[in-house]
C-alpha cells in the first residue's frame, strides 16, 4: 500500500514536470524513504509520542542475535541496542519493538522501561549518555524482518546449509535521458559514499525530455556480507563454498547481493552429525555495482575514455542508490529516535542453546548408548551362558 502511494506520488510529481519542462531536475533515491515500513520494527501499539529535541542527537549500534534450530529456523531473537546520545537536555525515547523483556545492556547509564510493544527511555543527558537495551523479542514478530534466511538439512553423510538474502523487494523507478558527464559524476559520488559506509546524501539528476516509469519494477536487495563457521562433532571430509576445512571446523565468508547471487549453498561431507553454527551478517556497501568499467579509476574517467550509454548509466545510478537505501534500512533493526543519526546493525545467527542441547543429546545419544548397549549385551550373554550351564547340569 505504502509503495503504491509512493509510486502514485512520484507519478503525480513527475507528470506535470515532464509536461512543462524540457530539462528538469529529478530527485534520485536516497537517503529515504525506505521501500518497506520495516525494519525498523514497528508494533501495533500506540505510536511513539516523543522523539529527541534538536538539542540531543543519537547514533545507534545494534547486535541482533537470532537463535536458530538444527533446520535453520529462527526460534529466538534478541537485540542489544546501544544508543549514544550527545548534547545536553531532556530525552524521552520510545523504541517500537515486539518486546518480551528488556534489561539494561552493558555500560548503560540508565535503565530502560517496558510497555507492550515499546522500550522506553527517559531522563536528562549531560553532553554524553549511553543507553543500552538488551531486549528479548517475540521471534514470530521479529524474524520476518531479519535479512537472512537459513535452511539446513542432513542427507546421510552430507550436510547442506542454504543461506538466502531475503532483503529483496520490488520498487518503481523512472527512466529518462540524462547527461553522461553528470551521471558519471553522480555515480562517483554515490560510490564514494558507499565505500565510506556513509548514508547517501540527497542528489538530483538532470533529465532531458520526458520522464517515464520503467515498464517493470526494479528488484532491489541490500548487499549482505556474511562470515561464519560450522563446528561439527567429527572431522569434515569435504566442504564446498567454504574455506578449507580445519578438522571439525568449516569457515565461510561471502557477499550475498551486489551483482552476486542472493543465495549460497554450503555443502559439507562428513562431520558426524549436525554442526553448531555461528555467523554474522551485516548490510554492506555496493562495490561491484559501482565499479567503473574498463579498469578506470572513476566513472568520470571512464566516460572521458569511451562513450557510455546514458540510459544504462541512469539505470545503474538509480538501482545502486536503491540498494544502498535498502542496506541503510537494515542498519536499523530497532528504530533510532534521531532520524539523522548513524545506524549500524550486525545480525548474528547462532545455533540456539536448546537446539544445541538437542543436537548434543542426539549425537551424544548414539555414542552414549554404545557402552550401555555393550553392557546389556555382555550381561545378556552371561545370563544366557549361566542358563545354558544350569540346563546342561540338569540334563
Amino acid at each position: 500500500m505504502r509503495r503504491a502511494l509512493i509510486a502514485a506520488a512520484a507519478a503525480a510529481l513527475l507528470a506535470p514536470a515532464a509536461a512543462l519542462a524540457d530539462v528538469q531536475q529529478v530527485l534520485l533515491p536516497g537517503p529515504t524513504p525506505f521501500p518497506t515500513p520495516s525494519p525498523p520494527l514497528q508494533t501495533v501499539g500506540a505510536p511513539p509520542w516523543a522523539n529527541l529535541t534538536f538539542k540531543i542527537h543519537a547514533s545507534s549500534d545494534q547486535r541482533v542475535r537470532a537463535g536458530v534450530d538444527a533446520s535453520g529456523r529462527v526460534v529466538s531473537v534478541r537485540a542489544l541496542q546501544r544508543l549514544h546520545l550527545t548534547g545536553t537536555g531532556d530525552y524521552l525515547i520510545v523504541v517500537s519493538a515486539p518486546v518480551l523483556d528488556v534489561r539494561p545492556g552493558p555500560g548503560s547509564e540508565s535503565e530502560p522501561g517496558q510497555r507492550r510493544g515499546q522500550i522506553l527511555w527517559s531522563g536528562f543527558a549531560s553532553k554524553h549518555r549511553l543507553l543500552a537495551a538488551d531486549a528479548s523479542l517475540r521471534a514470530a514478530a521479529a524474524s520476518p524482518y531479519l535479512p537472512l534466511r537459513l535452511e539446513a538439512r542432513r542427507d546421510g553423510d552430507r550436510y547442506v546449509l542454504t543461506l538466502t538474502n531475503v532483503t529483496r523487494t520490488s520498487q518503481v523507478a523512472f527512466q529518462g535521458t540524462g547527461k553522461p558527464a553528470e551521471l558519471a559524476a553522480l555515480l562517483d559520488r554515490t560510490r564514494r559514499d558507499s565505500l565510506a559506509h556513509r548514508r547517501l546524501r540527497p542528489a538530483y539528476v538532470t533529465i532531458e525530455g520526458l520522464i517515464a516509469k520503467r515498464t517493470q519494477k526494479t528488484s532491489v536487495a541490500a548487499p549482505l556480507r556474511v562470515e561464519g563457521k560450522l563446528r561439527f562433532p567429527a572431522a569434515v571430509k569435504e566442504a564446498i563454498n567454504t574455506e578449507r576445512p580445519e578438522g571439525r571446523m568449516v569457515r565461510f565468508a561471502f557477499v550475498l547481493g551486489d551483482e552476486r547471487p542472493l543465495t549460497q549453498r554450503i555443502e559439507v561431507t562428513g562431520g558426524g552429525g549436525d554442526p553448531r553454527l555461528r555467523l554474522e551478517a551485516r548490510p554492506d556497501s555496493v562495490v561491484r555495482g559501482l565499479t567503473p568499467p574498463g579498469g578506470a579509476p572513476t566513472w568520470v574517467a571512464a566516460a572521458a575514455r569511451q562513450r557510455l550509454d546514458p540510459d544504462a548509466l541512469l539505470t545503474r545510478l538509480i538501482d545502486t542508490r536503491m540498494e544502498l537505501v535498502r542496506a541503510d534500512q537494515f542498519q536499523s533493526f530497532l528504530g533510532n529516535p534521531d532520524q539523522l543519526g548513524s545506524d549500524r546493525t550486525v545480525y548474528v545467527y547462532a545455533t540456539s542453546a536448546a537446539a544445541a542441547r538437542a543436537t548434543a543429546g542426539s549425537s551424544g545419544g548414539s555414542g552414549g548408548n554404545g557402552p550401555l548397549m555393550a553392557l546389556l549385551a555382555v550381561g545378556g550373554t552371561l545370563l544366557a551362558a549361566g542358563a545354558a550351564l544350569v540346563a546342561w547340569a540338569h540334563s
Binding site: 516523543a50 531532556d90 540508565s110 535503565e111 522501561g113 510497555r115 507492550r116 531522563g123 536528562f124
Partner: protein
Amino acid sequence: MRRLAFLLAGLALLGAGCGGKSSSGTTGHLVIAVDVPVTGSPYAAQTIRQGVELAASNLNGGGGLRIGDKSYLLDVKLYDNHLSARTAVQDTRRAIDAGAVAIVTDGTGVDATWQLARRDGVSICITQDGGTGLVDPEQRPNVFRIAPTNHGIAFRYAEYLIPKKLKVGLLSDDSAYGREGAADVAHAFSQNPEAVALKLTLPAGQTDLTPQVLRARRSGATALLVWGQPPTIASVLSAARSIGWQVPVYTPPTGSDPFIRQQLADHPEWVDGLTFAGGRLTAEVGTGPFTNFQSQYETSYGADEVGVKTSQGQSVVQPPELAMYSYDFIHVLVAAATHAASVEAGKVTDALNEVTTQGANGDERGFNEHSHEGVVDDDVYFARFHDMTYTPVTDDPLSATLPLIPQTRSQ
C-alpha cells in the same frame, strides 16, 4: 401501578447515589482515597490532598471520566494515618470497603498496606516517601510512586559532591526516613570512601545537636549531608551556625520544608547556603505549565505560606511540589481507566503500566512494566537558599538549565 413505578424509580435513583465504583444510571462514582498524616505532618498532608482534589475537581468540571456511554465523577475520601503504619492498615481496609480504585499516600505504612490493596486490585501511589524498597514492580505490582527516590537523590549527591573534593560528613537522624536515607547515601558513596569524613546518626527530635556537629567539625568535614526530618536539619543548621561554622549543608527534599525556615526565622542568614535535592518543578518547555498549575492551585486553596519574609519584606510561599505529584497521579489514573475502558480496580492498575500523560510541570508522567517511578533519577535537581527562597544551583548540568520559580508574594 403508578405509585409502584415511582417507588421503583426512587429505588433506582437511591441505588445510583449509593454506588461505589459504578451505578446503574449514566453517571457513576469513582472513589479515590487519600491516606496522609493530617495530624502528623499537616503541611504534606494538606498539599497532597489538595493536589488530588484539584485534579478531581477539574475532571468532574469537565463531566468526569467517560467510559463507553457512562460518566464517572471522582470522589475523594480523606483518611488520616497519623504517620502510623497500623492506622494506615485500618485506613486501607476502610478505603477498600468504600470501593476505592486507588489510594494516594505520603508513603506511611505501605510495607503493610500494599498486600491488602493488591487483593482487591487497588493501586497505591506514594507521593512523598522516596524509600528504597517501597516500590518494586515485580513484588508489589500495585505500588507506584511520583516523588524523587532516596536512591536517586543519594546517587545524584554522590555525582554532584564527589568531584568537588569535599570531605563530606554524612549525618542522618534515627527516624525511619533518616535510616533509609543513610543506607542509600552510604551505598552511593561506597566507591569513594575518601570523600567521606564521618558517618553519624543523630537523635531525631533533639533540639540541641551541638555535640554531634562539633564532632563532625573535628573529623575534618568540609560539608555536611544531613538526611533527616525537617527539625533535625533545622537543629544541625542552628548548631553549626551558632558555633560560627559556615559549613555547606546539603539535604534531601525535607530541606525545603517550610518548618526549617520557620524555626530559623530569627536568623535568616543561617538558612543561606542550605542546598536541598528535589524533583524538578519545570520541564524543558519552561515555567509555563507549572505556573499555570500553581495559579490554579492558589486560586482554589490559596498560596502555601511559609510564614517568613524576605529581606525586602515580601511574603514567602512554598511552590506546591507534593500537590503536583498527587495531581499528576490522578491524571495518570484516569488515563489508565480510559485505556482499560473500565473502572474495575484491577484493570485500571494493570493499565497504569501502559499510559503517559503530561504532568503539571509539562513533563511526561507515566509508569511501565519495569518502572513504577514517576520521577526518574535524572530529574533530581539541587537548589540553594538565599534570603528565604531558593534558586537552582548553577554548578550541576541539570540544575543549571532550570529556571527560577517565583516564591514571593507582595503584601
